[in-house]
């Protein structure tokens, strides 16, 4: 038997917060993207924990799909980043603020 669910959940929470703060603080687009991945992973961890807790395979299926979608998301996202930032070297997330009100 393994450690109690609470620990896993706590760990997932920590990873999630770190990822969230990282997303807000970093300006490099790719690093921001990586922080998103961190958050997704934290969520996956939570799903799996609950799958074990509640004895339900649905949790793991969810992780399965999250992984697929995350992959697709990364692909498209990086494609967009490439398209936008190709010309500008050293561009950061702060340089796109055309929707300023």
């Amino acid at each position: 038997m393994t450690v109690g669910a609470a620990w896993y959940l706590t760990l997932a929470a920590v990873i999630f917060s770190i990822g969230a703060v990282g997303l807000l603080v970093r300006r490099n687009v790719l690093v921001m993207f990586m922080c998103v991945e961190l958050m997704l992973n934290a969520a996956n961890l939570t799903f799996v924990t609950f799958a074990r807790e509640l004895d339900d395979v649905g949790g793991q299926v969810a992780v399965f799909f999250v992984l697929v979608v995350a992959a697709a998301e990364v692909v498209v996202g990086l494609g967009v980043i490439v398209a936008i930032f190709r010309r500008r070297v050293g561009a950061t997330a702060d340089d796109i603020h055309v929707l300023k009100g």
Binding site: L23, A93, D94, G101
Partner: protein, 636 residues
């Protein structure tokens, strides 16, 4: 025969409608003839109805013709109905008669005016409204006519509306009238409240149930309405300004008909006045005061029409004095004779004004007697009538009023007598300045004095036949008018005729024949005094500054004080409201509200920084809140 009553107000109204539709096409002078014929037709219809009424016995002279139900709401049931009684027929007869003459006169007078058809359209509408007023069978229908004549008066006074003075005079008339109308309305509310009806006959039959205070209030409120319409103190200044309108208008509306509506109303409500003696006293006192003030002002005026205007105010005061002391027949008698000679005076004045190329200043007239004989003679007749010289009509009618006034109070008699002297005097002054003395208009031209409306050399002459016929007819009426009600027993036609309507409320005089003769002689003396003073001072001279003090010329400064006390402050209030309240407070509030929204928008807009990271921060914030909610739910 009596069924023809509906024609009386209808014919002029039809004339109005036709002229509205095709007046301009008919043009000058056909539009005028159409209007005149309509009013003539109305006069004939009045005669027919009059004869029909005569055919009935004295006690049965009351006929109600209901056209339709105007409206009916809960207890209030108002019909459009006519009440044909001797009083209303008397009014209808002389209104239509004088109107016909004046319509005829106007065809000549307004010949060169562009608004010829419009003038007659208004005149016809006016006559129609006036007839509705006098023939109506209930207060509200009368009020309809009342308002109608007020509106037509406004239209006609401001006929030459591009003249600022005329436009403003029209407004002034309307406003003063309105103040009176408020009184009329309040009186109607009170009448309905107390008696449950607005029909004259019904109301009068129920007066017993109403308390004296209410009756006094009703009478006073109706008198307020009458004072507005008939230019009594304190609502009279509009009448002098109303002289801006064409002279036929002044003759018809502001001498013979509209202004007499107030007197008519007082006589109509004689049952109420009879039961409210306090109100009657007020009416009498105000009437006497007005008569006196009006006469004094007329003594110092130069404009011929203004003299006549103030004279009208003064004579109306007499009529109210008569009504106030319970001498209703005398009031109607005076109204009738006054209609004749005042209309005559105005038409004569119009003729003179026409001859002098629209100049109205008597100081620039003079010696027109030889040049305009018909006008001069008729004017003279009118002067002697209004002055009360026997045997002209004015002598008889004014004599009645004076006698009744004495019966009420010697003070009232004294005021009235003094006024009679003044009346003879100021109109004599007017006559002498215009028709005797030197040809001052020649001197004025030679000295290069530019008056308005001068077009080439003046050749004063009598007007054409359309304008002369009415003058002559009215002159004859002024001479013979007294025959209607001579104070000798079998000849008191008017008294007996009006008996069914006002008889019960008439003041009965118990004077012996000797006393009555004394009164008559006294009246003659008063007239003679006035005439001789006028002749003495004004036959040769044309300037007598001592007799024309500024105080009188400026009309006792009453109008000036209205201006200072009411008009200026309200204009300033309007100014303040428009400049400050409107722009700063109201606009400020509205704009401020808009500004507040705009400012709020500007502040809120700062949330949209454009930076993705800021938006993500917002998302996080929302997440925190959501989680907090879940935590609270979980732990509670």
């Amino acid at each position: 025969m009596l069924q023809a009553a509906f024609l009386i107000p209808l014919l002029p109204f039809l004339g109005f409608l036709v002229l509205v539709a095709s007046g301009r096409r008919l043009g000058n002078p056909r539009a005028g003839w159409l209007a005149t014929i309509m009013v003539l037709g109305s006069f004939i219809a009045s005669l027919v109805v009059f004869v029909g009424l005569l055919g009935r016995s004295a006690g049965a002279r009351s006929y109600t013709q209901t056209w339709y139900t105007w409206f009916s709401a809960d207890r209030l049931h108002v019909t459009a109905s006519l009440l044909i009684v001797p009083l209303s027929m008397t009014m209808a007869l002389f209104v239509t008669g004088v109107s016909t003459l004046i319509h005829l006169y106007s065809i000549g007078y307004m010949e060169h005016d562009e608004g010829f058809p419009k003038f007659f359209l208004y005149l016809n509408l006016f006559v129609s409204s006036m007839l509705v007023l006098v023939l109506a069978g209930n207060f509200l229908f009368t009020f309809l006519g009342w308002e109608g004549v007020g509106v037509c008066s406004y239209f006609l006074i401001a006929f030459w509306f591009d003249r600022p003075a005329a436009a403003s005079a029209g407004k002034k008339a309307m406003i003063f009238n309105r103040i009176g109308d408020a009184g009329f309305l309040l009186a109607m509310f009170l009448i309905f409240e107390r008696t449950g009806s607005l029909q004259y006959l019904t109301v009068f039959s129920r007066l017993g149930q109403v308390g004296t205070t209410s009756l006094t209030a009703i009478a006073l409120l109706l008198f307020l309405g009458a004072a507005g319409k008939s230019a009594q103190l304190p609502l009279y200044p509009w009448l002098a300004d109303a002289m801006e309108g064409p002279t036929p208008v002044s003759a018809l509306i502001h001498a013979a008909t509209m202004v007499t509506a107030g007197v008519y109303l007082m006589c109509r409500i004689s049952p109420i006045l009879h039961l409210a003696p306090d109100a009657a006293h007020v009416v009498a006192i105000v009437g006497a005061a007005t008569a006196f003030v009006g006469a004094t002002i007329a003594c110092a005026q130069n404009d011929i029409k203004k003299i006549l205007a103030y004279s009208t105010i003064s004579q109306l005061g007499y009529m109210f004095l008569a009504a106030g002391v319970g001498a209703y027949v005398a009031a109607i008698f005076l109204m009738l004779t006054h209609a004749f000679y005042k209309a005559l005076l105005f038409l004569g004045a119009g003729s003179v004004i026409h001859a002098m190329n629209d100049d109205q200043d008597t100081k620039r007239f003079g010696a027109l007697e030889r040049l305009m004989p018909v006008t001069a003679v008729t004017f003279l007749v009118a002067w002697l009538s209004i002055g009360g010289v026997p045997p002209f009509s004015g002598f008889w009618s004014k004599g009645d009023v004076l006698m009744n006034a004495y019966a009420e109070s010697p003070v009232l008699y004294a005021v009235a007598a003094l006024t009679a002297i003044l009346t003879a005097y100021y109109l004599g002054r007017c006559y002498l300045l215009t028709f005797r003395g030197q040809q001052r208009w020649v001197e004025a031209r030679q000295s290069g004095d530019a008056t308005h409306g001068e077009h080439g050399p003046l050749h004063p002459h009598d007007p054409g036949w359309v304008m002369r016929v009415p003058l002559v007819v009215l002159a004859v009426a002024s001479v013979l008018g007294g025959l209607i009600n001579l104070p000798f027993h079998s000849l008191e036609f008017l008294l007996r005729w009006l008996d069914p309507v006002v008889g019960g409320q008439l003041r009965t005089l118990h004077y012996s024949a000797g006393t009555q003769w004394a009164f008559a002689i006294g009246d003659a003396v008063l007239a003679a005094l006035g005439v001789s003073i006028a002749v003495g001072f004004w036959r040769e001279k044309s300037e007598q500054p001592a007799l024309e003090p500024t105080f009188l010329r400026r009309a006792w400064f009453i109008d000036a004080s209205y201006d200072r006390g009411i008009a200026r402050p309200s204009t300033e209030l309007a100014q303040v409201t428009s400049d400050d309240v409107e722009t700063k407070v109201i606009d400020g509030a509205v704009n401020g509200l808009a500004g507040a929204f705009a400012a709020a928008g500007r502040r809120l807009r700062r949330v949209q920084t454009g930076y993705v990271r800021n938006y993500a921060l917002g998302l996080m914030g929302g997440l925190v809140v959501l989680l907090a909610y879940v935590v609270v739910r979980a732990t509670s």
